[in-house]
């Protein structure tokens, strides 16, 4: 097929993959925005969420019943994390909190394997991972139905969360808490409730991300590593920006795929692993807080 169409196909595929990365990164952003904690356990939460979902279905619950049960479970996990891991560490340094979330990742991964076992499972969302026919016929490009659905879901979630943060009372409370806990407390914002809400939302986001990734790649331990794909997205978009996540996801996805297909062969391939990170570093050199991140003002 002519080169231009192939390029477009790779580009579109990359953009769509990027939205999937953005969906995972969204969980990170949520938690960071509200409690300044970089939740390294997000990858483990994605894994645990979708594993539990599939596990409940295997135990006999139908799809539409397993969904709220898993959401409930993730809310519990989020609340538990906030209560037992974050609250005791409330005034510690960033590094300590980061380490705590890495420890948490181990715990969640272990618990997931403890309860649900180590078998690999499949998840069928009813959307086939196959090319959309009319696109195929018109242009010869392959665009997967599942990918497009995932992109739509990701877009919707980002839009919903962005609206939540900017237009609702709860969102304003979240932003206030992120800015300054003490000040927020002093004007009466219920800190604990806010944090629990944030962690619960992050859990739900993790579930959605897990379901889409699980449908694509199978529900198994390797899902934990999608978090590593989301990190460059976070850097480029800024840790605190919800709309930034989508834009950064698109950039990372597109550049990654185009880089691998067109530049990769000169190096023997396999550059997808580090290329997004290099890109992120270059971005940071120009804008150290990411595209939409909050500028860090340090006082002497």
């Amino acid at each position: 097929m002519p080169d231009f169409w192939f390029f477009l196909e790779v580009l579109v595929g990359g953009l769509l993959s990027g939205t999937m990365y953005a969906l995972v990164a969204l969980g990170f952003v949520l938690i960071y925005k509200a409690s300044s904690v970089f939740n390294f356990a997000q990858g483990a939460m994605v894994f645990f969420a979708v594993l539990s979902f599939v596990g409940f279905m295997e135990l006999g619950l139908p799809f539409w019943a397993a969904l709220p049960v898993t959401v409930g479970l993730m809310i519990l996990v989020g609340m538990g994390t906030e209560r037992f891991v974050l609250r005791p560490l409330v005034n510690q340094s960033e590094d300590t909190l980061l380490m705590a979330t890495i420890g948490l990742a181990f715990v969640i991964e272990g618990v997931a394997q403890l309860f649900w076992g180590v078998d690999v499972r499949r998840l069928d969302l009813g959307i086939r991972d196959e090319p959309i026919n009319w696109v195929m016929d018109k242009t010869g490009m392959l665009v997967s139905q599942l990918d497009v659905t995932a992109a739509l879901v990701a877009g919707l979630m980002v839009a919903a969360l962005a609206l939540l943060f900017s237009h609702t009372k709860v969102g304003r409370g979240l932003r206030a808490v992120a800015d300054d806990h003490a000040a927020a407390l002093s004007i009466g914002i219920p800190l604990k409730h806010i944090w629990m809400l944030v962690w619960a939302t992050a859990g739900v986001v993790a579930l959605v991300a897990g379901m889409l990734w699980g449908a694509r790649s199978g529900v198994q331990f390797a899902l934990v590593w999608v978090a590593l794909k989301a990190l460059p997205v976070l850097i480029i978009g800024g840790f605190t920006s919800v709309p930034g996540v989508i834009l950064a996801g698109l950039i990372v996805g597109a550049s990654e795929k185009i880089g691998e297909v067109f530049i990769g062969p000169y190096f023997g391939g396999g550059i997808e692993g580090w290329a997004p990170y290099m890109l992120a570093v270059l971005f940071l050199l120009i804008r150290p807080e990411g595209l939409f991140g909050e500028k860090i003002i340090r006082r002497v």
Binding site: V10, G13, G14, R121, D124, L142, Q220, W225
Partner: protein, 449 residues
């Protein structure tokens, strides 16, 4: 007392206790009957390769228990210890050292289920007198027993495997002459394991005049969009897939489905094609070919008997008994069967029938493995494993594989044991590589009469 204080007192106390416990555990001379043969098992039951590890080592442990229930090896009961490696090279080394000695007995054989672990310990075998019983993985040039007296590979190695697969492809195309001008893509994980078959493949590509394209997938390989779009663009006729970890393996199938590449033109490697890899891909996996060095199935007499005897008594190792008879499980049983045959040989050769053997004796026993069809029938795995014979210079197994195809629910076995078309060529490659290693490391290969 506040939690703080408790922590401050309890932690040092626990640390001291831990220290003593480990010291005790590692130097303890466990009261052990002289009639028990000890095996050290480095399992990998958690992490990304857990599906593989639980199946394989489950098969091994079930077989050891089975042999015990049937009276042991000439009366010698078998005992084992497990150690979790998480499929990590450094942990494998640590487990190796922890499992090495039990009381006054040393373990005689070590099986790491994977290449990273094998490479981590391979240099210690000659010093410690432990056999590294690779089973379908690991260092290919260890097939040259003159350079590697302590390392074996009783199931086929990767160079033999790729030759068999290329032959299969040629068959499907209608003959070697029809391969001219075709395009074969070797889609592989971007590690040494993934690149293993390339030297042999390149040679075959030259001889048969087809185009070989090498495309790498960086681990963990949950996203293979770019690779498959490239494959589509190159209009590949066949894809040989060499991945690791169920994430990569099932993603390849779903992505192939997405770009419309027929699964009937994909051949998976033994370590990439098991039920755990096909099932997550769902219907998309139908039609994929896989090479097998241990055929799956529950109706082999041994497997059926294990189900009856071991699981019947509630001593089965698999959490989910449905996994008995799967690819990895049977592979584990096959590997363990070879250990026990080697043990029997060792007892016989060194006049130690009814007694435990040491590393040297076990090595001799493994080298003396002569697994004929009759012997396979006796063990109960005729058709599950291929017959072979080891010798002083030849430390690899039969180099024969069965081709199977996934039908959506299970593997259908298509062929009987297929050998590589030119074993002499492969043997030459192996000897060259082993000689290079010997030269670099100042090893004088032993002479085999």
């Amino acid at each position: 007392m506040s939690t703080d204080k408790i922590f401050r007192r309890v932690v040092p106390a626990i640390s001291a206790a831990a220290f003593i416990a480990i010291a005790a555990a590692s130097t303890a001379a466990t009261a052990q009957e002289a009639q028990e043969q000890y095996f050290g098992i480095p399992s990998s039951r958690v992490g990304p390769y857990s599906a593989m590890g639980t199946g394989y080592y489950g098969g091994i442990i079930d077989y050891l228990n089975y042999v015990n229930m049937k009276g042991g090896v000439n009366g010698v009961k078998l005992t084992y210890d497990e150690c979790e490696t998480e499929y990590n090279a450094a942990r494998t080394v640590e487990c190796y050292q922890r499992l090495l000695n039990k009381g006054d007995q040393k373990m005689v054989v070590f099986d790491t289920l994977g290449t990273p672990g094998a490479y981590a310990v391979i240099g210690r075998m000659a010093q410690d007198h432990v056999v590294l019983a690779q089973y379908g993985y690991g260092r290919t040039d260890a097939a040259d027993g003159r350079v590697w007296p302590w390392v074996f590979n009783a199931a086929g190695h990767y160079w033999g495997q790729i030759a068999v697969k290329m032959n299969f492809i040629a068959q499907k195309e209608g003959g070697v002459d029809k391969m001219k001008g075709k395009t074969v893509v070797h889609l592989h994980i971007d590690t040494a394991y993934g690149r293993e078959p390339l030297p042999a493949m390149r040679q075959i590509a030259k001889e048969w005049d087809f185009k070989l394209i090498e495309i790498a997938i960086p681990p963990p390989g949950l996203e293979q969009q770019s690779q498959w779009l490239q494959i589509r663009r190159e209009k590949a006729d066949w894809v040989t897939f060499w991945g690791a970890g169920s994430g990569m393996n099932s993603t390849a199938i779903t992505t192939a489905a997405r770009v419309g590449f027929p699964r009937e033109k994909m051949i998976y490697v033994t370590f990439g094609g098991a039920e755990e890899d096909m099932i997550p891909a769902g219907d998309a996996a139908k039609g994929t070919f896989v090479a097998a060095n241990a055929a799956p199935g529950r109706d082999y007499p041994l497997i059926a008997d294990i189900l009856k005897v071991v699981y019947g008594a509630g001593k089965g190792n698999m959490q989910n008994p449905d996994r008995v008879g799967t690819v990895y499980y049977n592979r584990g049983v096959g590997a363990a069967a070879m250990w026990i045959e080697a043990l029997k040989n060792a007892q016989r050769i060194h006049n130690k029938v009814g007694k435990t053997v040491n590393g040297d004796e076990f090595r001799d026993g493994y080298e003396a493995l002569d697994i004929t069809d009759d012997k396979l029938k006796e063990i109960g795995i005729l058709g599950m494993s291929a017959p072979f014979k080891m010798s002083c210079a030849k430390h690899d197994g039969s180099e024969r594989f069965k081709m199977m195809q996934w039908d959506g629910k299970k593997f259908q076995i298509l062929t009987d044991w297929v050998a590589a078309p030119d074993p002499a060529f492969i043997r030459k490659l192996i000897e060259e590589s082993a000689a290079k290693y010997a030269a670099e490391n100042n090893i004088t290969p032993r002479t085999c009469s």
